[in-house]
Symmetry: C3
Subunit: 348 residues, 3 copies
């Protein structure tokens, strides 16, 4: 059980219409309601599902005036959207926390581990690493030499932090994220082979950063690749060496940022975006899905679309014209015929 209807109503500051001891076991969508479930009426179009819902309870706004549910307890709140997030948070807090250091974890004697830390089976904490208080380090994570991990940070299974990485507080790194692999840099030699450029820099990740599953952030050639505090990175994202990513950015799935870019604060990259190397993006710029740029974008707050990316209005206009090219072709056909006819008529 997650909580009873009464406990939830109290937490949400809502009023109960029905029994207070009904048990809620899971959260579910209005159109996937099931026994024991808690639903939220967030869209008017689902209001008709309320009366017959099999859910244990339904959270609605004060404005809900339809028929009361036959089975479900109603919880009225001022802001159902807010109540939804609070309920998610309450439910997530019911997950028992992992704790303790598994005997099979390998913690180097020169590493320091804060209090309340969980280190799972097979995790490796190398020499000189420092793990902050209350970190959760899941099985088979690798924390390399001298790595710093701030307090309350969670490293899910198989995360790899190469030597010299720093991760701040309250971060979440999802399974398989790789932080600090060598940047992709080579010097072409006359015989066609390539000489590896050694990468002796590191990666510094700020606080409150989330990195998605199997994303990769490479170490700098020298100095540091930096991810600003509050930045959220989705799955399968590539952040190359020496990038300087600002604070509170959002980088959606399968996007890639090539080396040595400077990305401002509050920048949003939608999914499958590409940014070429050495590009600068101003604060609060948005690149829409699949956009790509090889040029600096300097307009603070600008929204860019397409590849090459341009202001969204210009790009939409261009795309509209491109869709009309078949029609342009027809108009040219007609012009040619008409002109030909006119010339014939004039005998010229």
């Amino acid at each position: 059980m997650l909580f009873t209807t009464g406990q939830l109503a109290e937490q949400l500051g809502g009023t109960l219409e029905g029994a207070s001891e009904v048990e809620i076991n899971l959260l579910c969508a209005m159109d996937e309601a099931e026994a024991g479930g808690l639903c939220f009426l967030l869209r008017e179009s689902f209001a008709s599902l309320v009366p017959e819902s099999p859910a244990a309870a339904i959270v609605v706004g004060h404005e809900y005036v339809n028929e009361p549910p036959a089975k479900a307890v109603l919880i009225r709140v001022p802001e159902p959207g807010r109540a939804f997030i609070v309920s998610l948070t309450l439910a997530s807090m019911q997950v028992p926390e992992k704790e303790g250091i598994h005997p099979s974890a390998v913690v180097d004697p020169t590493a320091t581990v804060g209090k309340g830390v969980y280190i799972g089976h097979g995790a490796v904490i190398e020499a000189g690493a420092a793990i902050g208080n209350f970190c959760k380090i899941y099985p088979n994570v690798y924390v390399g030499d001298g790595v710093n991990v701030g307090a309350n940070t969670v490293l899910y299974p198989n995360v790899v932090l190469y030597r010299g990485t720093t991760v701040g507080r309250n971060c979440i790194l999802h399974a398989g994220a790789s932080i600090g692999a060598d940047g992709f840099g080579f010097i072409p030699l006359p015989d066609g082979s390539r000489h590896k450029i050694p990468h002796v820099g590191g990666v510094i990740i700020g606080n409150d950063v989330e990195v998605g599953a199997n994303s990769t952030i490479d170490r700098a050639t020298m100095g540091f690749t930096r991810i600003g505090s509050g930045t959220k990175i989705d799955n399968l994202v590539l952040i190359a060496h020496n990038n300087q990513i600002g604070k509170d950015c959002v980088i959606a799935g399968q996007s890639g940022i090539a080396g040595s870019c400077k990305v401002g604060d509050g920048v949003v990259l939608a999914a499958q975006v590409g940014v070429a190397d050495h590009v600068e993006l101003a604060d609060k710029i948005t690149l829409t899905t699949r956009a790509g740029t090889t040029k600096d974008l300097k307009e603070v707050g600008g929204v860019f679309r397409g590849a090459p990316a341009q202001k969204v209005r210009d790009q939409l206009r261009l795309e509209a014209y491109l869709n009309r090219v078949p029609e342009l072709n027809s108009r040219i056909d007609r012009l040619e015929k008409e002109l030909e006819a006119l010339r014939a008529e004039l005998g010229s």
Copy 2:
């Protein structure tokens, strides 16, 4: 040795032209034939390679009438393509199966493990998890709390199944696949930072599903992200939170499906496709390579191309016109000149 020519001919229901005791050690392509190899004449253009082939044996159709091979044994079958697949299957069955539970694996006392299960070194099976009969769980796999894995399923090294994931029977999850990481959802706050939306839902994967290496399937905000039975997913694919993917779909490499989409049965996404969030795709739709859609596609069985994706014929027509834009430009140049000349001639 995989099998002798005689054993194979019997299994294939073929007729042998040559010795029955020749040993076959590997399968190889006609143009990469080597001693001990078994080849298949699947393309007429390779028929000339048969007489001199160094292979141990060659499977041909009844219609093969060329010179017999000097060295290789000939195995005649009614359908060489079918014999190829059967031979691959026979060869793959020669790989010795992993078995037993490695002493370094950590199986929580509250987890249940079926019979004939292999659990490799360093794998972790958390509390309340259930592993079906004959599963193969390779080293360093993580099976989180309460996860269900159906019978005969194979989890290759470093697969991560987060808490609350369900995987059906006869599935294959390749190395590094991540199932159940948090969906990528945040609420923007007035100060520019973002509040994480807790994800308390799960992932349900049906039977006979294959998930490629390093692909990611995220858990639902609430309820479940679902992958229908029989669906095949390639490497480096991103399936975001709350997606409902139908049965018998094929999702090729590096494609991404953003959150809360409904994908019908038998849908095919070719490589590097992108589908925006909340999109619905009807049954049996195909999106060709690199196609992208932000809109619902409702035509059952339709084939769509381009980004924005449209019916393949319309898109090919548009692309053809776009390629002719330089020519349109020339025709406009000429029209302008001719019109100018005409007006000059007319003194108008």
Copy 3:
């Protein structure tokens, strides 16, 4: 400390202007110089930073004639760019090498391990595998049955080499790289389901190859997927089954090559490129960022752009014309009006 100014000057064959006993602790960019740092004046535009730099030492060319630095030691060399790479190499050699076989590693008694090999915690070396001298195998790596790894090769944490993989000498495989997962091949059955094509082939990776973090290279259906010596592969790259990739290629991040392609020597794929299955690329071809091809490209050394990819000059010309489509539209508008006016004028 990495080295003193005197030690470095000697290694670089440079001349010292300042003390020889100053300690250098890290390398940094001119515009991120800090105490104890070593900088390189590689761009004229940073020359003004030299006099006030807080760095411990700055490497400059013989042509540097500005004011000497107030604090930093100057090291004059003939080629600062070369000195930069040499210094990176010297610094990288200061990283203490991992050594020994961790007691928790599982090495099958039938596997062979060369001298000077490091095998980290939880790594698994399966039956019949062979690890060459001086290999570094990081924690939780999986080396499958019969895998061969050449001398001096480095496998970072969580690399997975499936059964039957061969990796050459002096290779570097970054965290989470998956080598040898099954190719993505299925036979559609009449009921809409798909039958898996067993993959009994392997992967052969040459010498001096680098594979980026979380990249995937699939095994062949039969025979081998091959990566030629000297080829460098970035992060999150997908190389499908049966590909034959030449020597000294460069494949940048998030690119994908579908099955059974033949890629020549010295081919360069920039980031997010896509190559369809069964395509042949001639030697030394370059595909620029995001290019895609479903057709063979046979011009040795050709540079291709766009999707469908064509010669870069042709594609740039086409793109320029496409950007002018709105203008073409205006010209057609004007032509139509003028022709209409002319006809009105002529009463025709």
